[in-house]
Each structure stands twice: as structure tokens, then as C-alpha cells.
């Protein structure tokens, strides 16, 4: 057909086109993202491409070849990506790429070796682009850049799914939890009594401790028997036994027992076999705890509603403290069920809000009416609704002095109440703030005008300590009391800051302080000494760059949101950020927070103090890879700020 169609004029073009890229460009135009790229960028790309041939079964890229230095576009043929685990190629980790598809992107972006082995499944031609040209094209073409950034986002999605899958196999819930050792299911000190204890006393103990069972032990705490509420019905209430009799007469003898290392499924099997709902966990013949059927299967039933109601109706601080621990279990459960990090942080914050409100209400009930109406403010991560399990108190009071009463007089009366509240919160598991950012401190118990004066000072001076304070205080949110004064204060801050270029620039400088710990030689830069050698501080170097960046974007563009994700999305909504950019940053931030939560969870289960340090060498391959990508995103955000503020 070309013979007859080709006439005089059509063939005049090769006379001048010395670099005839047309065939390459026409190929590219048939595939995304090249079909959307500007012509000049396509020409840039086409002129730099090299075509290589890979016979069937040849390896095109593999981890052993060092940092990825070529970008491949399949022209013809098929390529399989094979992910590797310790033992070799993972069967389910393989996927095929066909003509028009590209690889590897993440490795090139991160300047690291590929993690996937790419193999030609059929005779295959690939166009190749050298890494420097790839970088140049990224800078040149927004379409290409977005394409690569979005690829990364998909990678993050995969990783998040992977993390949840791995948690599901570890966690103490549902079927999969049955692999957990019994020791991890013991919720409290066992309630026990001696064999000669009168039935009535044992029942009173059970009632006071709110437990459904009591273990009868000897003087060495060796379990002799068990008595449950179920037994009460059959052996005591309906048979007219005197409550003065010793408990040993109605107990079940030789209760089921298992060592603490035994997996939960063994306990479940034992219960099912013996028709008995409780198992004693015993080590060296000594009682450690009791695991009930409910402990094994009830996690799914800790409802959010139920917990919320329980907090709202808690009669005292001790009850609240106990409920606070239940929050951890709910979070665990949700983590396993695949809740997103944003949801988890919101849930934690929600419960912490409930607890704070209940604590305040209980303290006020005790102290009597406050001298003036006040709004309880949360700052920092609680203000941003981004709490993880490790949360110091950051709070304050915004009060309105009634007519005829001086601000100082009101403060003097409010402070003791606020201090009680701070202490009660500490009793509920929210440690006192080292930096005295607490309502019980005079500097954090202010009227609206005083807050404005304090904030204005920071905005006008912008010294490092002011910026640090601004980064905590400007993320505030009302928890208790009238919202209106807090909203007035927030509107005032936004107006003040958005009009102050100097302060914004100083905040930008501050936001660039915590650099993501990416190294040139090694993957990560870890702390070389100090309290946590060879670790990365996920909060300081991972989450903080996003939090600071998002705050700055919000303040500079009058965005009233306080959450980091909400701020980034709002910035994209207003065209301040590109959607793909904001999406990638949200993903990266969420992943870092997820790693933090998982680290906390591990520390809790080992009874360690919570901190934010992880040793990258102890992360699995996928997490390491994604964490690095996430840090790269943090770096991109900082680069963006540096550009915006010419730093």
C-alpha cells in the first residue's frame, strides 16, 4: 500500500530531516505518558533513546548491578518483573510488562539498585535512556514528572497494603491472632484467692475487680482451681450453698493451664475440647494470668461506640486510665483491619478528646464552677488530630474575663483547676509536658488579648525559639468549652501571618532544619551516637518535615485546616500544589506515621518506653524501600519550600 500512497510531496520530508526521529516519536505517541508530553520534550527524549535487544530469558536489570542507571521503555516483546525474597524469586511477586511500559522508576528516582529482577520473557526490544537524561527529562517535562511521581504513589499504596498484611499476621486479633503467645493476651494481674476463702468474700472480690473468674491458689500462687460467674449460677445460687463455705468446695479443680509461650490457638483448642472458657497461664507452677475465651475472640467486639460511652460515663480518673489502655487495643484492631493512618490518628485523637473532656468535667465537678468561661485548647499533634500512641500533653486555656474581674484574678483562680486537670491527664497516660506547654502554667492560661500579644511577639520577632513555639501553638484546636473565642484567635493568626513575608520566610528556614536522613553512600544516615545509635528518628526527620511544610503552606495561603493531610489537600485544592505532588506527600507522610505507630505497638508489647527511633537495618526490604521513597518526598517538599522562599 505504501507504494501507491506515497506520492511526490510525501517523500520530500526526509530530504531535510537528517535526524529522522519520526518512527521513534510515533511509537512513543502511542503510549502513556508520552502521548501527553510536549513535542519538544518528546524530541528531547527520542533523540537520546537507544534501542537494545534482549533475547528470551535474558536478565535486563537486577539488584546486583548497582544503582539503576537506565530507564527502559519496552518497544516490543514482554518483560517480567520478579521480586526477590531471601530464598530467591517470589512466585507471587511476578508481573509482566508489555510494549509501551516503563521500568524501573523508583530505583532511578532513589538512585539505588533495583529491587526487582527484570527478565525478557520473549525476544524483546527496549528503548533505554541514561540516568542523566532521565533526570533532565524529569526536570523538563511536568507530564513525565507526574507520571513518575504517581508511579511512586502507587508503590506507596502497595507498601501500605503490605504493612497491613504483615500486621495482620502478627497482631492479636481474629483468626490470625491465634499465633500470638498467650503472654501477649494477659490483660491484667490475675484475681486470685486462697482455698479457704469464704465464697461470699471471693464473690465480693470478683465484683470489685469486675472480673468473671477468680483463681484459687495456694501460698506459692500455684493454681488449685477456678471459679467463674457461670459456676455461681449452677453451684451456688440455685443450690442454696452457704456463702460462708470455703470457695474450694465449689471451684472447678485442676483448671486448664498452659505456659505463657503457648500460642493462643492452643488455648482455643483446649477450651473447645474441654468446654471450658478460661485457661490459666502458668509458669513454673506459678499463676501469671487468666486468658478467657472472650480475650481470644472479643477484640473484634470492642466497639468504638461502647468505648466512647464508657469514657463519657466514667465515674473517676482511675476508670478513665483503664479505658485509656483499651484505646490501644482498638487501635491495634483497626490497624489490623486495614484502617488508614489518617483514620487511626483521628480515632486516637477522638478518644483522647473524649478522655480530656471527661477529665475536665470530673475535675470541674470536684472544684465547683470556674471563675470564668474558658475554652480548653489542644496544641501540637493533638491540635492537628495526628496523635499516635506516644503523646505528651500540649494544652492551654483561653478564657474570657467577666465584667468587673481582672484577667489576673481570673487566672489565679483558674490555674489550680488547670493543674488538677493536667495531673489527672497524666494519671490517664498523657505525660506532663517537659516544656510546660500546659494549661496549668501561667503562660498558657491567657485571655484572648493576651494570647494575641503572645503570638504577635513571635510573629514579629521570629527568633528560633519563637518559631519553635509557633510550630506547636499555631496548630491549636478547641477541645472543651466555647468554640467561638478559639475560632476568633485562629482567624486572627491566619490574617497576621499571611501578611508577614518575613515571618513566613523564617518559618520556611525553620522547616528546612530537619533534613530527611538520606545518605549518598548508604541508604540512610543514622545517628552515630547518643541515646539511640544507628537509628533514624521517624518523628524528627520523617514526620516533622511534612508537618512543618504543610503548616507553612497553610499559614501562607490562609488555609484554616490544622491537620497535615488536610492542609496538603487544601493546598492542592487551591492550586498551590499540584494534585500528584500533594498526593505523593500525603502518602509518604502517612507511611512514616504508620511506621511510627507500628514501632510504638512493638515497644508497648515489649513493655518498653515509647520512642520514635527505628533501626533501618531491622526494617524489612519493602519498608526500607518505601521509607526511603518517603524521605525523598520529604526532600522534595523542602526543595519546594526553598524555591518558594528563595532559601
Amino acid at each position: 500500500m505504501e507504494l501507491s500512497l506515497r506520492s511526490d510531496n510525501s517523500s520530500s520530508e526526509p530530504a531535510v530531516a537528517r535526524n529522522a526521529l519520526t518512527p521513534v516519536i510515533e511509537f512513543l505517541l502511542r503510549h502513556a505518558p508520552f502521548d501527553r508530553m510536549a513535542r519538544s520534550h518528546l524530541e528531547f527524549l527520542a533523540a537520546r533513546l537507544q534501542l537494545g535487544f534482549h533475547a528470551k530469558d535474558d536478565v535486563i536489570t537486577e539488584p546486583a548491578r548497582g544503582a539503576a542507571d537506565r530507564f527502559y521503555i519496552i518497544k516490543q516483546g514482554r518483560v517480567r518483573g520478579e521480586t526477590m525474597d531471601e530464598t530467591g524469586p517470589a512466585e507471587d511477586g511476578a508481573w509482566e510488562l508489555v510494549a509501551g511500559e516503563c521500568f524501573p522508576i523508583g530505583a532511578l528516582l532513589a538512585r539505588r539498585p533495583v529491587h526487582t529482577l527484570h527478565r525478557a520473557v520473549a525476544d524483546t526490544f527496549c528503548f533505554e535512556l541514561g540516568r542523566e537524561d532521565f533526570d533532565e527529562l524529569l526536570a523538563l517535562s511536568p507530564v513525565f514528572h507526574d507520571f513518575c511521581a504517581r508511579r511512586l504513589a502507587n508503590l506507596l499504596d502497595q507498601a501500605l497494603a503490605g504493612v497491613q498484611a504483615s500486621l495482620a499476621t502478627q497482631a492479636s486479633s481474629g483468626e490470625t491472632s491465634l499465633a500470638a503467645p498467650l503472654s501477649s493476651l494477659i490483660r491484667r494481674e490475675p484475681v486470685a484467692c486462697l482455698a479457704h476463702t469464704p465464697i461470699g468474700d471471693a464473690l465480693r472480690t470478683m465484683n470489685a475487680e469486675r472480673v468473671g473468674s477468680i483463681v484459687i491458689v495456694d501460698a506459692e500462687r500455684k493454681p488449685l482451681g477456678l471459679f467463674t460467674l457461670h459456676d455461681l449460677l449452677g453451684r451456688v445460687a440455685t443450690s442454696g450453698v452457704s456463702l460462708e463455705l470455703p470457695i474450694e468446695q465449689v471451684m472447678t479443680q485442676r483448671p486448664l493451664s498452659l505456659p505463657p509461650q503457648a500460642p493462643a490457638h492452643e488455648a482455643a483448642a483446649l477450651m473447645a475440647r474441654m468446654g471450658f472458657g478460661h485457661v490459666c497461664v502458668v509458669e513454673n507452677e506459678r499463676l501469671l494470668g487468666v486468658v478467657s475465651e472472650r480475650d481470644l475472640f472479643s477484640l473484634q467486639r470492642i466497639g468504638l461506640v461502647q468505648l466512647t460511652r464508657a469514657i463519657g460515663g466514667a465515674p473517676d480518673i482511675a476508670t478513665l486510665a483503664r479505658l485509656g489502655r483499651d484505646i490501644h487495643r482498638v487501635v491495634d484492631q483497626m490497624l489490623v483491619q486495614g484502617a488508614s493512618v489518617a483514620q487511626l490518628m483521628q480515632i486516637i485523637t477522638l478518644f483522647n478528646d473524649h478522655i480530656a473532656r471527661r477529665v475536665i468535667a470530673l475535675c470541674l465537678a470536684e472544684a465547683g464552677a470556674p471563675p470564668a468561661p474558658f475554652t480548653w485548647l489542644s496544641f501540637g499533634s493533638e491540635g492537628r488530630q495526628e496523635q499516635t500512641l506516644k503523646t505528651d500533653q500540649d494544652n492551654g486555656i483561653l478564657f474570657v474575663a467577666p465584667a468587673g474581674k481582672s484577667v489576673d484574678a481570673v487566672r489565679a483562680e483558674l490555674l489550680p483547676i488547670a493543674q488538677r486537670i493536667n495531673q489527672a491527664l497524666a494519671d490517664c497516660g498523657f505525660p506532663l509536658c517537659q516544656g510546660n506547654i500546659m494549661a496549668g502554667h501561667p503562660a498558657c492560661c491567657l485571655s484572648l488579648d493576651e494570647w494575641k500579644v503572645r503570638f504577635r511577639g513571635w510573629i514579629e520577632h521570629g527568633a528560633p525559639e519563637h518559631l519553635l513555639k509557633a510550630s506547636i501553638f499555631f496548630d491549636f484546636r478547641p477541645i472543651y468549652g466555647e468554640r467561638a473565642p478559639a475560632e476568633a484567635l485562629q482567624a486572627w493568626v491566619l490574617e497576621r501571618v499571611a501578611g508577614n513575608a518575613t515571618f513566613l520566610r523564617q518559618m520556611a528556614e525553620n522547616a528546612l532544619h530537619n533534613r530527611p536522613p538520606l545518605g549518598l553512600v548508604r541508604d540512610f544516615v543514622v545517628a552515630s551516637g547518643g541515646e539511640h545509635p544507628d537509628t533514624i528518628d521517624l518523628k524528627l526527620n520523617g514526620a516533622v518535615p511534612f508537618v512543618d511544610g504543610a503548616r507553612l503552606l497553610a499559614l501562607a495561603h490562609g488555609i484554616a485546616e490544622t491537620g497535615t493531610l488536610a492542609r496538603l489537600r487544601a493546598a492542592a485544592g487551591r492550586g498551590v500544589l499540584r494534585e500528584a505532588e500533594a498526593g505523593a506527600w500525603c502518602d509518604a507522610y502517612s507511611f512514616i506515621q504508620l511506621l511510627r505507630m507500628r514501632a510504638h505497638r512493638g515497644q508497648l508489647s515489649q513493655g518498653l518506653a515509647l520512642d520514635n527511633h527505628v533501626d533501618p537495618d531491622r526494617l524489612n526490604e519493602l519498608d526500607r524501600r518505601i521509607l526511603k521513597e518517603a524521605f525523598r518526598q520529604a526532600r522534595k517538599l523542602q526543595t519546594r519550600l526553598a524555591l518558594d522562599y528563595q532559601l
Binding site: E2, S11, R18, R48, L49, L51
Partner: protein
């Protein structure tokens, strides 16, 4: 070049600028046949002509692209149409598609061919039915610039059967080989597109050659020549 050859070389008066370019081209060092295949640069060539008679038909266009270090370089290629003022009735316009207007709009042959020489340098040349391309180019180069191409030619019509005897394509044309490997020329019978298609075939042959233990340019040339002696003629005439 021997004194005899120098004596019988057609004397052509070139404008000084062109003479200087020819001199510069001649002074480039010739590519070594010892060069590793994994590094060597080859120039893949295709020509379109007014017919199949290498003594009487004329060269109409040349397309060439570069393969270096086992990669076809998309951005490094050369395409030219040689200018001619009147078209001949024997012209096979229907095949090569270069009509009278295009031929009239082409470059003057000296310029056209000088550009080819500069693109090709002294690297080994690759073509399918290379003897045809070689004869047409040599005649045109001698007439226009008074030079011969000293580079060795690698004929894929020979190298193909030598490396892929199982394909049973000993006397086949380029289209058969393209079909065999599922290759598609962007548009056949346009010199540059044919050169690209030939280059893709060459990449496949290079991979097989290396797998067969051939590592140098010389070894590859020898494999092609051995096949040429084995199967004289190599295949049908050039297209």
C-alpha cells in the same frame, strides 16, 4: 593506497571546502577489527536506487543509523535524497517512492554523500545484501567525491543464516527475516526506515553472535564471509 591505484584514481576537482572535508574524513583512524563487539560502532546502511543494475542505475537516497555498544542510537542517523534534475523512465518510483519533485528538491550529490561519509566515519558498515549497497555507494562516491569507502562491509544476508541456521532462511530477503523475528519496519522502502529495520535485525544477530562466543568485529566479519563462501550469492538480489 598503492601508487597504482592512486594513478588510476579519477581526478576530480573539488571546491576547497569540500576537499578539506574529504581530507578530514580520510585522516580519521580506521576502526580496528579487533574491537570488542560490546563496544564497537557500526553504521547500518540502506540505499534506494533507480533500479537493480549497479552499473547503470542511480543512487537516489541513503539512510544510515548507528549501532554502538550493542544499542541502536535513535538520535544518531542520517537520511539524504540526492538531487537530480531529470527523471528517467526506468525509474522504479513505485518502489522507492521518491518522485521527480522530491529528487529535484534533494541535495546536490556531493553534499549528500559528504554528509554520509562524515556520519559513517571509518566504522564498519552493515547492510542486508551489502554488496548491492556497497556497489551503488562506491560508484556514487567515486563519481561525486573521488573516494572509495575503505570500511569493511558486514552482510546480514550472510550473517543471518550463519547464526540462525534453524531459521532456514539461507536465500531469503530482508522481509523474510523481519517476518521471522516479528519485526516491523516503520515504512519499508524508505532508506532510513529500512536501515532502522535492518539495525533491529542486526541487534538480534549481535546477541546471538555473542552467545556463540564471537566477541570481536573481525570474528563477526569472518562468520559472514564464511557463510558467503558456503552459500555463494547469499540470496536473491537486493530490493
Amino acid at each position: 593506497m598503492s601508487w597504482l591505484a592512486r594513478l588510476f584514481r579519477p581526478q576530480i576537482e573539488l571546491p576547497p571546502a569540500l576537499a578539506e572535508r574529504v581530507r578530514a574524513w580520510r585522516e580519521q583512524p580506521a576502526a580496528s577489527e579487533k574491537a570488542e563487539l560490546s563496544q564497537a560502532r557500526f553504521i547500518v546502511v540502506d540505499v534506494e536506487t533507480s533500479g537493480l543494475d549497479t552499473r547503470r542505475d542511480r543512487l537516489l537516497s541513503v539512510g544510515a543509523c548507528a549501532v554502538e555498544a550493542l544499542r541502536l542510537r535513535a538520535g544518531e542517523n542520517y537520511a539524504t535524497i540526492l538531487r537530480r534534475d531529470e527523471t528517467n523512465e526506468r525509474d522504479n518510483i513505485l518502489i522507492h517512492g521518491i518522485g521527480p519533485q522530491a529528487q529535484a528538491a534533494g541535495e546536490v550529490p556531493e553534499e549528500s554523500l559528504m554528509g554520509f561519509l562524515e556520519f559513517a566515519g571509518r566504522h564498519p558498515l552493515v547492510a542486508f545484501h551489502a554488496s548491492f549497497d556497497q556497489a551503488m555507494l562506491d560508484r556514487a562516491l567515486r563519481a561525486a567525491l573521488g573516494v572509495r569507502l575503505p570500511s569493511p562491509w558486514l552482510d546480514l544476508a550472510h550473517l543471518g543464516p550463519a547464526l540462525f541456521p534453524e531459521a532456514r532462511l539461507a536465500h531469503a530477503g530482508l522481509d523474510d527475516w523481519l517476518d521471522h523475528f516479528g519485526l516491523r519496519a516503520h515504512a519499508r522502502h524508505r532508506a532510513l526506515d529500512d536501515a532502522f529495520a535492518t539495525a533491529e535485525l542486526f541487534l538480534i544477530l549481535l546477541t546471538r553472535a555473542r552467545a556463540r562466543g564471537l566477541t570481536s568485529v573481525g570474528a563477526l566479519l569472518a562468520a559472514g564471509e564464511q557463510q558467503a563462501r558456503l552459500v555463494p550469492g547469499g540470496g536473491a538480489g537486493g530490493a
